[in-house]
């Protein structure tokens, strides 16, 4: 298989071919080098094909990671001359810093609450749309738009929408309240969290919707029909028939969203800038600030590695899920 197209010749044909090749090489020594390279390339073509990808991934992906292990054990910041070896001091600094743990908590809240709400609303919308419905394609097209938008633009949009005086959200709330509402959403910790979750919700519920709808559509309708003939109610059919069939897709959607939501950075950068105080800093945003504002490379590296270990556990789950599917 690997030995290229020569594989397709019968052995009896193969020998004379090789003999001819050798004879040719003996007669023209200058051709030897080129031909040998060609033969070698053909023998190793399967590795040659993946080599560029592996080099790129190693150079830009894995090497910086290893490099950052190195950085996390020295002290690399502008205030300190030289780069002294400090052992685990950076890790200790990070693990004892309140700001880091607040960032962990913020990320946890945003991911936990955000992804769960997105899932339930996405599932609800998908169930609404699963049958034959007029304008389904248009609806799906509309819901594709948020997923494709630049997160920074989404953050900018919602920041305008939340604006205390000039934003329409307070205006609409005012209609219901019957008086002027001047809530400044982003300057209070609780409301800032609500604002961030709603922003995430707006952008990523469509993700859940599109994925779950594709999953639901792939469920054989005869299954549900058979269940209803046997006297199952709609609710029972959903719990006992549909849900088990689409549960792998639910898991995949959940894990992909969780792993992407853990990286949350852009929206916080634009809307709250981690504030008020540092209450809405995510891990990515906290590390960005330590790295770019104060240029504390070592603390950033140590913090990133602690975060990575947590993420790696979830990645392992995700990868196992993909493995099962094969």
């Amino acid at each position: 298989m690997a030995s290229s197209f020569l594989y397709y010749y019968q052995d009896s044909e193969r020998k004379p071919l090789l003999n001819r090749t050798n004879a040719f090489l003996a007669s023209r020594p200058e051709a030897q080098w080129r031909t040998r390279t060609q033969v070698w390339a053909r023998q190793h073509q399967k590795w040659l094909m993946v080599l560029p990808a592996l080099i790129l991934m190693f150079g830009i992906g894995i090497f910086p990671l290893l490099f950052s292990i190195g950085i996390s054990f020295i002290r690399w910041e502008p205030r300190i001359p030289g780069r002294p070896f400090v052992g685990f001091a950076n890790f200790k600094d990070i693990l004892t810093s309140i700001e880091y743990w607040t960032a962990m908590r913020t990320t946890g809240i945003l991911v936990g609450a955000g992804v769960t709400i997105e899932f339930f609303f996405g599932l609800g919308l998908a169930l609404l749309l699963v049958g034959k419905i007029k304008g389904k394609r248009i609806f799906m097209a509309i819901l594709m738009l948020p997923v494709m938008m630049v997160p920074v633009v989404v953050g900018y949009t919602w920041r305008i929408l939340w604006h205390a005086a000039y934003g329409p959200i307070n205006q609409i709330l005012g209609w219901f309240a019957g008086e002027r509402v001047t809530l400044s959403w982003l300057s209070n910790t609780t409301t800032a969290f609500i604002a961030l979750i709603v922003t995430e919700f707006w952008q990523w519920t469509p993700f859940m919707f599109l994925v779950l709808l594709a999953g639901l559509t792939s469920v054989n309708p005869e299954l549900a029909e058979a269940a209803s003939i046997d006297g199952a109610s709609n609710w029972q059919t959903f719990w006992k028939v549909t849900l088990p069939v689409i549960s792998p897709i639910i898991m995949v959607a959940f894990l992909i969203r969780t792993l992407d939501a853990l990286k949350i950075f852009d929206i916080i950068f634009i809307t709250t800038w981690g504030g008020p105080g540092y209450s809405t800093q995510s891990i990515a945003f906290y590390l960005y600030r330590t790295g770019s504002k104060h240029f504390r490379m070592s603390h950033t590296a140590a913090g990133a590695w602690i975060f990575l270990i947590i993420v790696a556990v979830i990645i392992t789950f995700a990868v196992r899920l993909f493995k099962e599917e094969k």
Partner: protein, 288 residues
């Protein structure tokens, strides 16, 4: 007797049925309003003058729509159209590169099982790696070779950034090509390269296009690498938006124009692959 009964039952069913349908469509319309409203709002912000977006109560439709921000977006700050050009150059080149590199790697992994499942899953796990973990070490490395703020570094980073996704997706598509077709083409005298371009490429073209569109969208929307690696010369659209509207500046109109301009090309190419969108979102686990 019997017929009468069934009519009665139908009548009994009908009322809740209509009610249910009405509720269904109401929910659908509500969610359309919810998901379209923000897009509507930035679009009108882009054509409002400064007097109008700073207006209480907020005006839903501008009284005097203006296009001044489409001009001022270039003259204020670093230049919005320059950012669009940069984003275009970077996203296009990195998409072409990643498709080229990914095409061969994915083919080799799908057909020859190069590296087996381990390599495949290692590549998949790179897709989930948080970029914040490598962005600073990478910055220090690139600074050594004077690569900061250049097109090359952005193209290179986005190529690698998308590579795991592209290989994983293409590997799935290539696996669906029956090996018999390739073999029969080879028996007919087609070389391996010939098979790749004359058999595999046409058969997987929809998949290749979907994957390329996703890679393009990722490079177009990426922000963390962009904000760290670009300074004054090579800044992308998200960086430009954050410069108009962030912790320092509050240029609503200019940012609105940038927002609108950033959406158009992406929506256009994204909607073109609508049918295959779910597969891209789930890294191939939903085939559709």
């Amino acid at each position: 007797m019997r017929a009468e009964k069934s009519i009665q039952t139908r009548k009994r069913i009908r009322k809740p049925y209509i009610f249910k349908q009405a509720l269904k469509y109401m929910l659908i319309i509500l969610s359309i309003l919810f998901f379209l409203f923000p897009i509507f709002w930035i679009t009108v912000t882009a054509i409002k003058g400064p007097g109008e977006y700073y207006n209480f109560p907020p005006r839903w439709l501008p009284k005097n729509p203006t296009l001044i921000h489409f001009k001022s977006v270039q003259t204020t700050g670093a230049g919005g159209y320059t950012a669009l050009k940069n984003s275009f150059i970077i996203a296009t080149s990195s998409t072409v590169l990643v498709m080229l590199v990914g095409f061969f790697a994915a083919y080799s992994m799908a057909r020859f099982k190069t590296g087996g499942n381990n390599l495949a899953f290692m590549i998949l796990s790179q897709r989930f790696l948080p970029p914040i973990a490598i962005v600073f070490p990478l910055f220090l490395m690139m600074r050594v070779i004077n690569f900061i703020d250049t097109y090359q570094v952005m193209i290179l980073i986005y190529t690698v950034f998308n590579l795991s996704f592209v290989i994983w997706m293409l590997r799935g598509y290539f696996k669906e090509v029956p090996i018999e077709i390739e073999e029969s083409a080879m028996v007919d005298g087609c070389s391996r390269v010939g098979v790749l371009f004359k058999v595999v490429l046409p058969m997987t073209l929809p998949g290749l296009i979907t994957t390329a569109v996703f890679a393009y969208i990722f490079s177009w929307t990426e922000f963390l690498f962009a904000v760290i690696f670009s300074r004054t010369r090579v800044f992308t659209v998200p960086v430009a938006v954050s410069a108009y509207f962030g912790s320092e500046a509050q240029l609503w109109g200019e940012a609105g124009v940038m927002a609108v301009l950033s959406m158009l090309p992406i929506f256009f190419i994204g909607l073109a692959v609508q049918k295959h969108f779910a597969r891209g979102l789930t890294l191939g686990s939903v085939k559709g």
